[in-house]
Amino acid sequence: MASEQRKVAMTGNEAVANALRQIDPDVVAAYPITPQTDIVQYFSQFVSDGQVKTEFVTVESEHSAMSATVGASAAGARAMTATSSQGLALMWEMLHIASSYRLPIVMPVVNRALSGPINIHCDHSDTMGSLTTGWIQIYSESAQEAYDNVIQAVRIAEHPDVLLPVMVCQDGFITSHGIENLEILADEDVKQFVGEYKPSNYLLNIKEPVTFGPLALQDYYTEFKVQQAEAMANAKKVILEVAEEYAKLSGRKYGLFEGYRLDDAERVIVVLSSTAGTTKAVVDELRSKGQKVGLLKPRVIRPFPAEELVDALSGAKAVAVMDRAETFSTQGGQIFTELRAAFYYAKERPLMRNYIFGLGGRDTTTREIHKVFSDLENDLERGHVEKLVTHLDVRE
């Protein structure tokens, strides 16, 4: 039986740092200066205060942070790090090493814009740029979700059918620095939920010596990539199983996505993270006026839950996908492109258009969300979309 949860007021970063404290990983390697967030600052305090047993390694760059985390994980440790923005960009090479070695590293990421121009505020260009690195990606709307997702991520990553690293994303400043009320589990419940990490092959097992990082050329490289792709496909089921178990412990339910007033919705906005909260307010307002609108908030983007999203949107007539990062493909953002492709073989295809929004932290308020819903209404009257890709709230 789970102990009572504690109601606390915390920023998203504090909430995630507390999740890390409760997980008490063996090793945390992190770059301690900007673009790092105060997740590791709070965590270093826990280390100094003796609240965790973690070996805390401060390194000279994020490339080194990920390298040290990879090394620790390969050695057999439960290893974590955290980053944001340029830091994630600097890790890029090592992200592939982590996923290809099949190391279950969990990394909270605070989504912030990539330079240039120099910007420190929220958008998703950092993690959207790492979609092809073989990491599972989970997005959080609130501090509560970020906290819950980090704890679940440990179990997802370490599941024998998965063994892939996981990024747990939250919106920079909006969530990471905004204080909210949330519930945190008792320390012993988290400890029990994540359990002890038991790697099967690891470097410090001197009884069965192994080597990581082989050469695999034309003969075997493809086979290793297929293994990774299969693990990613397995992750969908594992994410749902872990969510179910977590719901029993916490009372909070998670899926591959969240549908909000979606059942009979004709006009739907698809958007990740904190903007989903803003959209919920607009949905409620328009629903009170009798308008059939809804929200679909993807939680998991890698693996991309194509069938589930198509199924959830099967009743919709017009869909606006909102991406908080440019791809410069001129064909829209990443979520839009993937969701639109997922509909290719669907019997019923809603009108679908894309908005690139909130770049570099530009505020997206209920006003902009109202505009998107009204654009969808006009599209329905017109019978086709007015414009495939729109940059929302731009001065000409």
Partner: protein, 95 residues
Amino acid sequence: MTGLKGYKDIPIGGVITEAGNSVQYKTGDWRSMRPDWIPEGCVHCLMCWVFCPEAAIKVENGKMTGIDYDHCKGCGICARECPRKEKALRMVRES
């Protein structure tokens, strides 16, 4: 590419689970030049054995006995270090 294992039969993440299995990795076909050993000229000083980066010099009872061409990659270090030079070890083009 025959005789290779499928993706379900290889350790995940490319982890090498057997120690010392690099012997299975034949580097001999990288060669464009091969060392040719002339036993009559050899004084068995084993300088070639000391310097060979591939452990491709075969030695028995303290005597040089030949070259393991499965693993010799033809770098020529042995021939360069051999004090007897052309009399004991010379590099010849692979046919």
